[in-house]
């Protein structure tokens, strides 16, 4: 079969291909009722462009779905981390213990304080034991945050005790103004619990 193709049709095809190659799939080959096999090629290119648009739409929808899922997972992770970072434990009626782990910055201290104060109010707690066993170093921002937390606990009428202060952490606390805390510090959480129970008359007082 011999085929005579005009330059205009070839240019039309090439322009469509070049435009599509730049990412614009909305372009189409202009079709006319030519009785030749090139029409199949021209139409085939238009069909291919239809398919590319459909695939791009699907990809965009999948990408949006993945982003939504990622945001949802990040939110769940934040909630989980927040829950795990403030494990307030009722060790005795009216006695709460909070093991602190890791770095405590202003934002985290605010979350911990809010959670803790809520529990103190809800359980009418008389004592709060802050256990620092998991705190390897006190950052500059940690000490003021800790001071604010302890003052807030005092304002609710609860007594605060510190336990588990590591040897390397104690000088840092002093250097950062921890002397002003006016709280009782004990070696272990069990010591603090024994003291509190003795205060409450539930146990013979082992410390003085």
């Amino acid at each position: 079969m011999s085929l005579t193709i005009t330059e205009a049709r070839i240019n039309g095809l090439l322009n469509t291909l070049v435009t599509a190659a730049s990412g614009d799939y909305d372009v189409r080959v202009a079709l006319e009722e030519h009785e030749d096999p090139l029409l199949d090629v021209e139409l085939g290119i238009n069909y291919l462009l239809d398919e590319l648009i459909e695939r791009r739409t699907q990809n965009e929808a999948q990408e949006e779905e993945l982003l939504t899922r990622a945001r949802q997972l990040a939110r769940q992770q934040d909630e989980l981390v927040q829950a795990l970072s403030t494990p307030v434990i009722a060790v005795w009626p009216g006695v709460l213990a909070l093991p602190l782990v890791g770095r405590i910055d202003d934002a985290r201290a605010a979350v911990i304080t809010a959670t803790l104060l809520e529990r103190i109010a809800a359980e009418r707690a008389s004592h709060v034991i802050l256990d620092l066993t998991g705190v390897a170093a006190i950052a500059d921002a940690t000490m003021p945050a800790l001071l604010r937390m302890i003052r807030a606990i005092g304002l609710l009428g609860a007594r605060c005790l510190l336990t588990g202060i590591r040897a390397e952490v104690a000088p840092q606390i002093v250097a950062l103004g921890g002397n002003d805390l006016h709280v009782r510090a004990l070696a272990r959480l069990s010591d603090a619990l024994a003291l509190v129970l003795a205060d409450k008359g539930a146990l013979d007082q082992p410390h003085r």
Partner: protein, 116 residues
């Protein structure tokens, strides 16, 4: 309705379905077409008369391509564009005997000669 169906008999007395096709064919139309030819019209000879200006959406084309057609199918059209569209859709179709005509009596004679 882009598809209009008629149940007819060829000059040699063989039953066939004549389908008149026109307008824009979308996925829903294609699904209805495939359901008919995989159901009530299964194994029936088909003569489709496709009007100029008939357009198949991308989803409709894909759905029609997925149809497993085994009976003879003649398409009549005077439009080069429609013929090109049919060529592209039937090029990758597996099985089936398919031909495109410009003249309906000629298409019907061919259909009558085919073994269903």
């Amino acid at each position: 309705m882009p598809f209009r169906y008629e149940e007819l008999v060829t000059p040699m007395g063989r039953p066939y379905v004549r389908v008149h096709v026109s307008g824009d064919i979308d996925l829903r139309d294609a699904e209805e077409y495939v359901a008919r030819f995989e159901g009530a019209y299964q194994r029936r000879r088909v003569l489709s008369v496709v009007a100029s200006g008939t357009e198949y959406s991308a989803k409709a084309r894909k759905h029609l391509l997925a149809m497993r057609e085994s009976s003879p199918h003649a398409t009549v059209t005077t439009s080069a564009l429609v013929r090109a569209a049919i060529h592209l859709m039937t090029r990758s179709a597996a099985g089936g005997t398919y031909r495109v005509f410009t003249d309906e009596p000629e298409a019907l004679a061919w259909l009558d000669d085919q073994e269903a």
